[in-house]
Amino acid sequence: MRPTRVWSLLTETLANLRRGGWGGLAAVGAITVSSLILGCLWLLTVNLQAIMSDWKAQFEVVVFLRDDITAEQRDLLRRRLQTEAAVAAVQYTTKEEALAVFKRDLRGQASLLEGLGDNPLPASFQLRIGEEHHTPAAMRGLVASLERLEGVEEVLYGLEWIDQLARMVSGLQVVGWAVATILGGTAVFIVGNTIRLAVYARADEIEILRLVGATRGYIRAPFILEGLFQGLLGGTLALLLLFAGYRYVVWRLGLSPAGLLALDGGRFLEPLQVTGLLAAGAVLGGLGSLLSVRRFLKA
């Protein structure tokens, strides 16, 4: 394509966008909304997955010991734990260490500790579990066998909770795709309608072009580009809104303990995903105009 052609195509497209007015705005709005919802779900999934993998990496089974356990029983128990195939590492925490950690965690709220007489916290073994044993069934078996051992007060593990979270995330993805598909379809329809109006508004020009022998591509290109521009604009707006919303949420969560605990500052979409979101907007716009031009522009 010659530079003059590119230039005239661009100016024509921009002029059409200006002429499009409210209809064009509706198209951009529809793409913004559907891209935004897609982006929200994406962002949520990305963060939940990050949280899950963090938790999985830190995942441990805690074996709390009875206060009356003897040193002998404890050594026996440690050796027994080390023979378990699922256990990758064993670490011992005394009652005193447990209290020290507890106090550190409650720093600034020392008054809570005042009523505490004797150290009520039990000693414990923390077991690191090999990645391949991170399944609910394997964990249940392990926990059941550990609870029967002598000197064991209680066994705690959080995998079931993580598993529930994982199910929630995949459910979220299904719902997300369904919603995104419906909204995307609506956006394509609205863009198509805008382009149809643009085609009607320019019927005279199109007829002249057709009759003097302009090629089909020459006649269609400005309309397709118009849809692509609308899509790209919608995608960009969605991305800006998403980023603003994300910063706001992180800021709000940052004030609450839950945020500090879980989100670890959170994460935004990767550059590739950002590109993907913009591309999704452009594809919606381009598809809408392509379908419309095919249907309403007989050249």
Binding site: T4, R5, D204, E207, V212, G213, A214, R216
Partner: protein
């Protein structure tokens, strides 16, 4: 240059616009196509630049079989044929010059060459001083001449004119015909549809008369 073999065109089920028309226009001819309203003049012109397809028969334009032409080669055919439309088909929200530039761009004429050509054509049709006005401010005759200039942009081999003097008084009509004869003198084949019998008589050129879609007279076949 243009050949029609037993061409018929029926609209819908039973509206017969053209019936069994055979014609041969040679290169460089200036031919009048005449007949009353509804005789099929406009349909015949539209068949030549493939704005219509015939119901039966074959059409050859500059060696191309118009009927069998693949869709993607239609633009190339239309570039050989300049058309002056009965209703001018000008863009009323653009100036005269922009109307011509719009088409030049579509035909891929480089900007500088287009500017030269448009200046030349507007001088030819006597409208250089109107270049920056919109067609609204032009008289019917002036609009007609813009349409002629536009049809000549691409140096067409064939010029089809549908009632180009239809809304003009005798003096302006004579101007337009003079202009078209100059174009013809440079080698362009011209087919001019008109119901103006006086005009046809004055010019004493080959004349094809259509009546109810049939050729009833052709003094130069």
């Amino acid at each position: 240059m243009i050949q029609l073999f037993r061409v018929s065109k029926t609209f819908g089920r039973d509206v017969e616009a053209l019936a069994d028309v055979s014609l041969h226009l040679r290169k460089g001819e200036f031919v009048f196509l005449t007949g009353g309203s509804g005789a099929g003049k406009t349909s015949l012109l539209r068949l030549i630049f493939r704005d219509l397809l015939p119901t039966s028969g074959q059409i050859l334009v500059s060696g191309r079989n118009v009927v069998r032409l693949p869709e993607r080669e239609v633009p190339a055919l239309r570039r050989l044929v300049g058309v002056i439309f009965q209703d001018f088909k000008l863009l009323m929200d653009r100036t005269v010059a922009e109307n011509l530039h719009y088409v030049a761009r579509a035909l891929g004429t480089p900007e500088a060459a287009a500017r030269r050509k448009i200046g030349y054509l507007l001088r030819q049709v006597g409208l250089l001083h109107r270049a920056n006005q919109t067609p609204y401010r032009l008289s019917g005759g002036e609009q007609q001449r813009v349409a002629i200039a536009r049809a000549l942009l691409n140096d067409p081999l064939i010029l089809l004119a549908d009632e180009p003097t239809g809304n003009l008084d005798a003096e302006l009509a004579a101007d337009v015909i003079r202009l078209l004869r100059e174009v013809n003198a440079r080698g362009t084949t011209i087919l001019l549809a008109t119901h103006n019998a006086t005009l046809v008589k004055e010019q004493a050129k080959r004349t094809i008369v259509l009546k109810a879609g049939r050729v009833v007279e052709d003094n130069g076949a």
